[in-house]
Symmetry: C2
Subunit: 336 residues, 2 copies
Amino acid sequence: MTIPKAALIALVLTAAAPAPPAQTPAPAPSEIVAAAPASDWVTIDPKDLLVMDLAPDAKARPRRVVIQLMPPPFSAGWIGNIRKLAAAHWYDGTSINRVQDNYVVQWGDATEKKVLPEGLAVVPESEYASSLQINPNSANLIAFKRRMVKQMRALRAAHPEVLANLPPEVNPSMIDPYALMTFLDGGWPVAGDMSAIWPVHCYGMVGVGRNLSPDTGSGAELYTVIGHAPRHLDRNVALVGRVIEGIENLSSLPRGTEALGFYKTAEERVPILSVQIASDIPTDKAFPRYEYMNTESATFAKYADARANRRDPFFIKPAGGADICNIPVPVRRKQG
Amino acid sequence: MTIPKAALIALVLTAAAPAPPAQTPAPAPSEIVAAAPASDWVTIDPKDLLVMDLAPDAKARPRRVVIQLMPPPFSAGWIGNIRKLAAAHWYDGTSINRVQDNYVVQWGDATEKKVLPEGLAVVPESEYASSLQINPNSANLIAFKRRMVKQMRALRAAHPEVLANLPPEVNPSMIDPYALMTFLDGGWPVAGDMSAIWPVHCYGMVGVGRNLSPDTGSGAELYTVIGHAPRHLDRNVALVGRVIEGIENLSSLPRGTEALGFYKTAEERVPILSVQIASDIPTDKAFPRYEYMNTESATFAKYADARANRRDPFFIKPAGGADICNIPVPVRRKQG
């Protein structure tokens, strides 16, 4: 059977043409992740996992929270302190003291009198960002962001006077009101400008409590985000990691009723039994391995695109974009 | 005493110079809100409040959730259904069935067999957005957004060819990866393009559960956002209101362990005692009045600016911007 050329063109152009019967629905982001080859996953070194065990809940169920620490160069001074505090068992016996709805859960020494181990670093505020240069051609810019940056650079090249003359408060990233660029770098959500990059406050990120500037916190007081990304904290507080398992043991705690969500009474505080680095857990106590998706893999690009453009059956209108905190890096227990 | 001119200049330039003793620190957003005159607040009509009472918690404490319904033209068909369902006491005896961490809490009839009242509207998908025109000069564009839009229009006027030639996937708002513009309109977070506006999925927003398209849901199944704004749901599901009090009674519930956070057993479900419109609550049962901040007021502009540029003592680096969901409209019990 011969198909007239005009009909062929019509077939190609008609978006509303009926789908071929064998067509499978577009996969959801979770399905893309599930189908990733083993080579797209990166095993997390147990030396980079902080394991916090809370007292069991009212039904005697254990409550464990697993935190992946950020790699250098981010927040290296504070992370060094946290390793020392964990090694000294300093956190053991402290408690969850603050649960503020749509904001943070915070833990540490409620008495503020527990003596810190010697030799902790006093980290300067300059360490809230890293002076590491961004390479705008880096393969780790996720797919749609890469397209945006490319277009932006073409626009700049063609019309340098346009962007040069915009007032400084205009953010030319076309993406994010908080930073010139945001992207996934080495498996972590970060923001950057032409001189520095810094980690950003997405759901589940773990940061260092501090007093007023110039204090930067030691790492003895920590918090995690349990609400809409409080990006105004970026570059104002140190971020040191993210919760990769068990965040529900923090996010579903009763909210504190004092100012800023602090618990009113000692009874409300949740005791922390221990905080230890996973590699220090005796090998006879089985501890799972974890892996995160390589953000430079083809699967991740596909996943990020699907997060920005949901085409799986429930959706009728793909958004056409996503903010950095709405593209969480997949992390799971190691398979196979 | 005479100060040499060179020393004076040094004083002016030195950021670390001691602050004049009488200088007050910049107010926090909450302090700006607390100082607002009564005229900057709008009383919420009790006819627009949906009051959901859950069964008391394990410590016999009552759990009430107060939801403000959106004004027309948004989602009017679904909101009409919800008013009918509440008037018929249809929700009473249903339950919270799903709690998915960093996503939603969902409630309705777990049996899916409860007969709906007659006369509910079947609302078309076209109602996910309103064809209401945006007036780019509208006073309700919040301060910094207004500046952005103005600059964008100047850029367009000066160089129409630049933006006209950008591929369609470039979002020229310079603000938000999800929409051409986002702003606060009549006290609600919305997004828009040149032909329509639609409400957006911020923390605490309430939407209508549905099955696969073309189903749009009746309003019998509802959910609220308890995590980072899932903006990919915008224009894919109907939004009908927001939780203005008691969200902690939903956000701190145990997470469901089945797929999508559904509870596994009937025992885990939280019974809903009643859902009623506040104006139907007998006057002898005291019910508070609520008010929200007028988003066109001078106080709101100051508040939005402070959310985007924190200058209160804790902060050292103002962000220079904020996404729409990080500027929640202040709502409180009516004062005085």
